[in-house]
């Protein structure tokens, strides 16, 4: 079995991307993402890929877009303000059905905000890929290992569905060190790249468009997108259940909020509280069937934990949760990291 090594989340994710066959990385430094870009700057060229320190985030996402038109595995990473700046490019990638991966190591606050972790980009990532209302596949890791695994598989996922994938990590996941297993280099990842190179003489021309202009045709594109999202709901949803079989109380959380909450779940279980957790790994597609399946005859109350105010993730849970189950929320915001004690406290109030 592969050996575990101690690595920082951002660095481990970068290495995982390289081992997934990354051809091009374009990024602009921003805390708490910067260590990923720094690592890429020397490591990707060493592995035979292209690294570009872009002049701004719009340039970075469009370099990724262009590389993807060329069939490459392309990645960018950023945080809050940069993620805002990339929305137009992500929209165009959705419209043009282009694979590609965008890592958002979330920080907190509006505008320049602060450099500390939060989950406040949930709605921005999940509700619409920039303007136009198309969707990215959105994944949320809760450990360094899961960050690695999600990045490693994200290119296959993006190419399977011809769609950008957003990995919604945060400053905590990106900057903490944990023991991880770094997977082997993938092989045979360049079929798409080869198919979109110069090619044989006299071949038909290739035209890349991010949109068509006639409304009736655009509407057809939207219908096709809807069908794709329905398919994701059937086959791409991922979540993890923790101690839910006999649970009378449930925490629902994603990413680092889920990681922190898992401490509270363990502590409360030791006291005999029948509590468990459901943790979405895909935020879009949202595990709505799992939430709908929460049984009011078994579960007395649900607590959603997130690092955002006003709540965002809570609203999505509320949409699918049985109305007869009391639904509470526990939040911190602005870069204040929630603690297991606070989560425990919030659970005690609803017991």
């Amino acid at each position: 079995m592969a050996k575990k090594v101690l690595m920082q989340g951002n660095v481990a994710a970068a290495e995982a991307a390289i081992r997934a066959g990354l051809n091009l990385y374009a990024g602009y430094p921003i805390t708490p993402q910067t260590t990923l870009t720094e690592y890429m700057s020397w490591r990707l060229p060493e592995a035979g890929g292209q690294f570009i320190q872009a002049e701004c985030e719009p340039a970075a996402i469009n370099m990724v877009l262009g590389a993807s038109v060329g069939g490459a595995r392309a990645l960018t990473a950023t945080s809050g303000p940069g993620f805002s700046l990339m929305q137009e490019g992500i929209s165009a990638m959705c419209g043009g059905k282009l694979p590609g991966v965008i890592i958002n190591v979330m920080r907190s606050g509006a505008g320049g905000g602060s450099i500390v972790s939060s989950q406040a980009d949930y709605n921005l990532a999940v509700k619409s890929a920039g303007h136009g209302g198309l969707r990215s596949l959105v994944l949320a890791p809760y450990s360094v290992q899961e960050f690695v695994d999600m990045v490693y598989n994200s290119f296959d996922l993006a190419e399977k569905y011809n769609n950008p994938v957003v990995i919604l990590a945060d400053g905590m996941i990106g900057q903490m060190h944990e023991p991880v297993i770094i997977p082997e280099f993938k092989t045979g990842t360049d079929a798409r790249l080869k198919a979109r190179g110069p090619g044989e003489k006299g071949r038909p021309k290739r035209v890349f468009k991010d949109t068509v202009s006639v409304p009736a045709l655009v509407e057809k594109e939207y219908d096709a997108a809807c069908a794709k999202y329905d398919l994701w709901q059937k086959e791409a949803v991922e979540y993890e259940d923790m101690l839910t079989e006999d649970a009378e109380y449930l925490i629902i959380a994603f990413g680092s909020a889920a990681r922190i909450s898992s401490g509270a779940v363990k502590a409360l279980r030791e006291e005999g509280v029948k509590i468990g957790m459901v943790r979405p790994k895909t935020l879009y597609p949202f595990p709505k069937e799992r939430i709908k399946a929460i049984d009011k005859n078994q579960v007395k109350a649900v607590l959603t934990v997130e690092m955002a105010r006003p709540v965002m993730f809570y609203d999505d849970v509320a949409l699918y949760l049985d109305r007869d189950i009391p639904h509470y929320s526990c939040t911190r915001a602005g870069g204040v990291i929630i603690t297991p004690d606070e989560v425990e406290e919030a659970v005690r109030k609803i017991l």
Binding site: E55, G66, V207, F208
Partner: protein, 249 residues
């Protein structure tokens, strides 16, 4: 009989030019197509097009092309080129695209020496969106956002992009041409050809600005366009090679 003039095979016989009657933008596209044919690079060529009139080239050329977001044409174009270094990337942009919203991308693409060729079509206006002022609009020129004529106090002087790019150390070749008469068309074709060869043979960045005029939005008869370009526009934007550090002759 000797054939002395033909339509290049790199223009789709079933495709059509989407440009307004009387506009010389189509001439620029035709010159690019001729260069692609003469250098025998049809399968290697990628034409990233800026949002604006450039997209009218899409259904006309018979080689690869890609639409870009407004101002990001060099960024997406170089992303493609980086992963296909054996390809030839000819980036077609308007002045709004390259000089206003995409100024940062234009300068940094040139400064990094990305091995692409930028063809900037300077029509002194936002053509596609109906004639708003561009950074290249002449002082006194009327547009829908400078109805009394552009004033220095409001909008500054026209930006000379070719000269600006030439101040950078990295670009290998920077020139400006025009396509308002046969002589200038032939000269401009040589500029494009050299620029593309520099990309191919020296793996270097090259830039050609080409002056046209937007008959539709200027509201001048097409028959007067050549003299308008000659007597007015070229007084502001001088044609010629501004910088040539290539080893090609």
């Amino acid at each position: 009989m000797e054939c002395i003039y033909k339509k290049p095979a790199t223009l789709d016989p079933k495709g059509k030019s989407g440009f307004c009657p009387g506009c010389t933008y189509g001439t620029v596209v035709k010159l690019i197509a001729e260069v692609v044919e003469e250098l025998d690079i049809r399968e290697r060529t990628m034409l990233p097009m800026g949002v604006g009139c450039a997209v009218s080239a899409r259904d006309w050329v018979d080689f690869d092309s890609m639409m870009s977001l407004h101002g990001r044409t060099t960024a997406s174009g170089l992303g493609y080129k980086r992963v296909h270094p054996e390809g030839v990337t000819i980036i077609l942009q308007g002045d709004g695209d390259a000089v206003a919203i995409g100024m940062a991308e234009s300068v940094h693409t040139a400064n990094r020496g990305e091995p692409v060729t930028v063809i900037l079509v300077n029509n002194q206006i936002y053509g596609r969106t109906g004639g708003q002022m561009a950074p290249t609009t002449l002082i006194g020129q009327k547009s829908t956002t400078s109805v009394a004529g552009k004033r220095v106090e409001d909008a500054g002087y026209p930006i000379h992009m070719a000269e600006l790019i030439a101040t950078l150390k990295t670009p290998r070749f920077v020139a400006r041409g025009s396509v308002h008469n046969v002589k200038e068309i032939l000269k401009t074709k040589e500029l494009i050809k050299k620029a593309v060869r520099i990309q191919m043979e020296e793996n270097a960045y090259s830039f050609v600005e080409i002056v046209t005029a937007c008959t539709t939005n200027l509201g001048i008869p097409t028959s007067e366009v050549p003299s308008y370009i000659e007597d007015v526009v070229l007084k502001e934007f001088k044609t010629g090679v501004i910088k040539d550090e290539s080893n090609l002759n």
